[in-house]
């Protein structure tokens, strides 16, 4: 009962907020609706018992990706008049995209009703997970045994992407003076000051 109610709540909010992402005039509102959609999709994941995926969805997409999205969009200087001016020019492209997506949707539903597709033959004895194991352990067990090479390749690709991003954005800055914390900490009063017993009537030597 409560599962059913929560499913309908989560699902309808996901769909409604996904629609609002498109319909919202203000890009910042769009991003915020996107966050609502992510969050409720995580709720759906919890309902099917994939709590680990749900938490990852929130941590990665809501906690990191969407924050950066919001960061960029908030800094944009949005001119609504200019946005509307581009509308007429982009209508044909938009219509084309809409037709393609609609055709794919129809094809997809048709294919679904035609029955399941067998993609190759399933390996024997692979990926049988008992229902009692917490799914974080089940995923870990699969990831580090059966799919370990795939996992490491994904890690390698991400590493290369990260190095690439750093190389592309790295610039030698000129004319800035960096702070050397260790030399500041090591500095003692004797390095900068001295005590003198100055006789009366004589100028101080600098």
């Amino acid at each position: 009962m409560i599962q059913l109610v929560s499913f309908y709540i989560f699902a309808s909010i996901v769909i409604a907020s996904a629609a609002m992402v498109i319909f919202a005039r203000n890009p910042v509102h769009s991003v915020l609706w996107l966050i609502v959609a992510f969050f409720n999709a995580a709720g759906l994941m919890v309902l099917i018992g994939a709590e680990f995926i749900a938490m990852l969805l929130v941590i990665v997409y809501v906690g990191a990706v969407a924050v950066l999205f919001l960061f960029v969009v908030m800094m944009l200087d949005i001119d609504f008049a200019e946005l509307r001016a581009g509308f007429v020019k982009n209508v044909p492209l938009g219509l084309l995209l809409a037709v393609v997506l609609a055709a794919e949707l129809v094809l997809g539903i048709g294919a679904y009703q035609a029955g399941a597709v067998t993609l190759g033959t399933p390996e024997t004895g692979a990926a049988t997970v008992s229902a009692t194991v917490p799914n974080i352990e089940a995923i870990g067990g699969l990831l580090y045994s059966k799919y370990v090479f795939m996992f490491e390749t994904a890690g390698l690709i991400l590493l290369v992407a990260m190095v690439g991003a750093i190389v592309l954005t790295h610039r030698k800055s000129h004319g800035t003076r960096g702070q050397s914390i260790s030399s500041q900490v090591q500095r003692r009063p004797e390095d900068a000051t001295r005590n003198v017993n100055q006789p009366v009537g004589q100028g101080i030597e600098l």
């Binding site: 009962m1 709590e51 938490m55 941590i59 906690g63 990191a64 924050v67 917490p134 974080i136 702070q179």
Partner: protein, 348 residues
């Protein structure tokens, strides 16, 4: 609690529902009271550090000061700036406040006394605390004012930076405890050192990350010395500049509920949570919830102590500490801890 309501003749589902609602109220209402008292305690502590008296007029020793402040704020007019984004402006403090309460669902107050004992408890806390930034960012943007906006930008960058090192520190703890369940992590500390000290913090390998977690949690909650989001000498009051009355009070309550949560997390992850400090039978006569509260209050004392004595960081120093110091060290510590556990056959 579910079984208690079932004995009253409810069906399982109705009993579960009632028990959960009751549990939420049992956590949220005392938490609000605790926040009011902890604000008073902190003001008294700062006053003591600065050789002042602190609040001492309302009620005995000024205990009711926070309630008087709350009443004053409640009776004020809510001013919404005409250039602001009205809806988001009002939602922002609600988000901050709600998120600060949500994470308490998985905190075990004593053995088995937890609202929701889920397998991925620690990930849940991480997920919820990563939501906290939205309240600040939305407040800064919706105010349509320059100081709140600067503050929102700072807050977003700061919280993301320190979440990375917090994540690595949590991984070390999870590796040692072998579970993401918060209660399981507390139980993993039973007799951790020489079979009788109940705390990860006294483990020489984990002590450095206990310190790092303490500092990161101050940065994550934007407390002094990392309170650059509301640095009054630069940004007036940061993202709260345009807020007044109850909206302002919600930010205030949410902030302190978050600080208490971080104190509780420190106590749970490194200082044994609801376990007594030493695994000695007479100490178990004291209920676990008392030990837990004592530990939270001690952590809170450290937080107040730091806020009263340490000067504020500069923003570039904050970023340097997060990315160039904590990130490499915590990453290295993941290797170190997992290597040690592998070498000693902890997983066998």
């Amino acid at each position: 609690m579910t079984s208690f309501f079932q004995t009253l003749g409810m069906s399982y589902e109705a009993a579960w529902f009632t028990a959960t609602i009751a549990g939420i109220l049992l956590i949220a209402l005392p938490l609000m009271l605790a926040v009011a008292l902890i604000i008073y305690a902190e003001r008294k502590l700062w006053a003591a550090f600065a050789l002042r008296r602190g609040p001492n007029v309302v009620g005995p020793f000024g205990v009711l000061q926070s309630f008087a402040d709350g009443l004053k704020v409640f009776l004020q007019e809510t001013i919404i700036p005409s250039a602001s984004n009205r809806g988001l402006f009002l939602i922002a403090p609600i988000i901050t406040f709600t998120v600060a309460l949500m994470a308490w669902a998985v905190i075990p107050f004593a053995d088995g006394v937890v609202l929701s004992n889920i397998n991925v408890g620690l990930l849940y806390i991480l997920a919820i605390s990563s939501l906290g930034v939205y309240g600040v960012v939305i407040a800064g943007w919706a105010s349509n004012s320059k100081y709140p906006f600067y503050s929102a930008m700072r807050a977003a960058a700061q919280m993301i930076s320190y979440e990375v090192s917090i994540g690595f520190i949590l991984i070390c703890i999870v590796l040692w405890a072998g579970t993401f369940n918060v209660g399981g992590i507390v139980e993993g500390q039973r007799g951790h050192i020489f079979g009788f000290i109940n705390a990860y913090a006294f483990n020489p390998l984990l002590f450095p990350i206990a310190i790092m977690f303490l500092i990161s949690s101050m940065a994550e909650t934007a407390r002094a010395p990392f309170d650059l989001t509301e640095a009054e000498s630069e940004l007036v009051a940061g993202y709260q500049t345009e807020y007044s009355s109850m909206a302002f009070a919600l930010f205030w309550l949410g902030e302190y509920a978050n600080v208490l949560l971080m104190c509780a997390l420190n106590a749970i992850l490194f200082w044994g949570g609801y376990l007594p400090p030493v695994d000695w039978a007479p100490l178990y006569a004291v209920p676990g919830i008392i030990w837990f509260f004592v530990k939270i209050l001690l952590m809170f004392f450290v937080f107040a102590w730091v806020k009263a004595t340490v000067p504020r960081y500069r923003y570039d120093q904050l970023m340097r500490l997060g990315w160039k110091v904590f990130l490499p060290i915590s990453l290295f510590w993941v290797f170190l801890v997992s290597g040690y556990l592998m070498f000693t056959g902890h997983f066998a």
